[in-house]
């Protein structure tokens, strides 16, 4: 990792789902590069945070209020949305509440956050939005019917929303990570019959022989969010150690 000193100097950023995992790593990275970063999440980060906004991405009111909170202090330059949950299960075994909850958080949540950010970014003709999709949004994965649908929907939403936002000068992209060593992955492993074997299997399945670290995803998010990606919009960038290249 190479912190780019001052790349986000003076920038106002909100990281939705910024309390843990990839989101928390993104908050640290962007702060290290000079940004003022608000954290919007259902739960407060460990140790608290002076720029914490409590809210649920399934509530349009909460999302709108989070953006307003930032705007009361500074014009929002960057939205990063890391909010998401897993929902393992085949199509045959997934029940309605599981499906609906997954779509509500992972897909509709991304829509709500994008809409709220665009309302303030588009009139200013500037801003950048980065979502966290998944390699499961690019290729099918067994036993992940709802998750694949939500992330695949998100990847395609990013393309469509990017086209709509382009004439207004706002960029919208997403990263598509592989397995990343976060609380979400650890919870999934803990739920397997043999967690130790499950962890070893996951590493062995990766082309590069290891899963990702949250800081590696944050580095890619920082690039897409920055002016260095000025000609990049509507893309899903795999950050996955080659998983979707094969």
């Amino acid at each position: 990792m190479s912190i780019v000193a001052g790349r986000f100097a003076g920038r106002a950023v909100i990281v939705v789902g910024g309390a843990s995992g990839i989101g928390a790593a993104t908050v640290s990275r962007l702060r290290a590069e000079g940004a003022r970063v608000w954290i919007a999440d259902r739960v407060e980060p460990d140790g608290g945070d002076t720029l914490f906004i409590r809210g649920d991405i399934t509530s349009s009111d909460d999302v709108d209020r989070a953006i307003e909170t930032v705007e009361a202090t500074a014009p929002l330059d960057v939205l990063v949305n890391c909010a998401g949950l897993p929902a393992p299960g085949t199509a045959a075994e997934t029940d309605d509440p599981t499906w609906q909850r997954l779509i509500d958080v992972n897909l509709s949540g991304a829509f709500r956050a994008t809409r709220a950010a665009l309302r303030v970014m588009q009139p200013r003709r500037s801003g950048s939005i980065v979502h966290v999709a998944s390699d499961a949004g690019l290729v099918g994965m067994a036993g992940q019917a709802a998750y694949c649908a939500g992330k695949g929907g998100l990847v395609h939403f990013v393309r469509a929303a990017a086209l709509d936002a382009a004439p207004h000068g706002v960029r919208i992209n997403c990263v598509a990570p592989c397995f990343v060593d976060t609380p979400m992955m650890r919870a999934w492993i803990a739920g397997q019959a043999d967690p130790v074997a499950a962890r070893a299997d996951i590493d062995a399945e990766q082309p590069i022989g290891r899963v990702g670290q949250p800081e590696e995803i944050a580095a890619a998010i920082a690039f897409l969010a920055s002016h260095e990606a000025n000609f990049v919009t509507g893309v899903a960038l795999p950050v996955d150690g080659g998983v979707t290249a094969r």
């Binding site: 382009a166 000068g169 990702g212 580095a219 890619a220 260095e228 000609f231 290249a245 094969r246």
Partner: protein
């Protein structure tokens, strides 16, 4: 101003560094502290770029489509700098601006030779050093690798080949080196100018051409592509391999 040094102490080769995107890449990598070997079939242009670098580098005459020329250039870099950490395969030609029916065989072959075979030859020559030093390759493909376009009978397939070569090498050397490519939209360079008819009003044509990009509604600047190459070549892309990253302002999103 603090100048971030993302490639301090690294040794990079940029092919086609004598003009356009390649020159911008060479300068960008140098700004980040890399020793840059500027390779180009046009020796004077390579030397000119080398003279522009903020950190000392070298200019080398090299035809990427010629095996002996590639071997000599890579050896010269290894002798001078000690190894290779980053290879940027940027050298390319537009080739015949024709549909299949009127594309001459020699034009087809030269386009494939420079754009695709050149990428293979340079990569193969640099791989031993790249593997030893856990380096990276960044190829410059094109958005036209992914979508059909008129009068690009040879260029499109040559760039599609580069994308697929990128993925194959990423798999072959996974965990040892990273291999990625950038797929730019239309970039304002001498190459793009060369595709215009001789009597064209360059500014008016480019202004119209730029509208293929939903965002910005203009052609890309070479520097905007160089920033993407820098990212893919830096440690910030440590988890990225086998990727074709579009830098086309939404051109192929729709």
């Amino acid at each position: 101003m603090t100048i971030a040094q993302r490639l301090a102490g690294r040794i990079a080769i940029v092919t086609g560094a004598g003009a356009g995107i390649g020159r911008a890449i060479a300068v960008r990598l140098s700004q980040e502290g890399a020793f840059v070997a500027c390779c180009d079939i046009d020796a004077a242009a390579a030397a000119e770029t080398a003279a522009m670098l903020p950190v000392a580098g070298i200019g080398i005459a090299c035809d990427v489509a010629n095996e002996a020329s590639v071997a000599a250039a890579v050896e010269a870099v290894a002798d001078r700098a000690g190894g290779i950490d980053l290879l940027v395969n940027n050298a390319g030609i537009a080739g015949p601006q024709e549909p299949a029916l009127t594309t001459p065989l020699d034009g087809w072959q030269r386009t494939l030779a420079v754009n695709l075979t050149g990428t293979f030859l340079m990569s193969r020559a640099c791989l031993p050093s790249l593997i030893e030093r856990r380096g990276a390759i960044v190829n410059v493909a094109s958005a036209l690798a992914l979508v059909g376009w008129t009068d690009e009978c040879a260029y499109g397939p040559s760039k599609a080949g580069v994308v697929q070569l990128t993925k194959g090498m990423a798999m072959d050397y996974a965990g040892r080196i990273r291999v990625n490519c950038v797929c730019p939209g239309a970039v304002r360079t001498p190459m793009l100018e060369s595709t215009l008819p001789a009597d064209a009003d360059v500014e008016a044509t480019f202004a119209e051409y730029g509208k293929i990009h939903p965002l910005h509604q203009r052609l890309a600047w070479p520097e905007e592509i160089a920033d993407v190459v820098l990212f893919l070549g830096s440690d910030d892309a440590s988890l990225i391999t086998g990727v074709a990253l579009l830098a086309d302002a939404g051109f192929t999103a729709g």
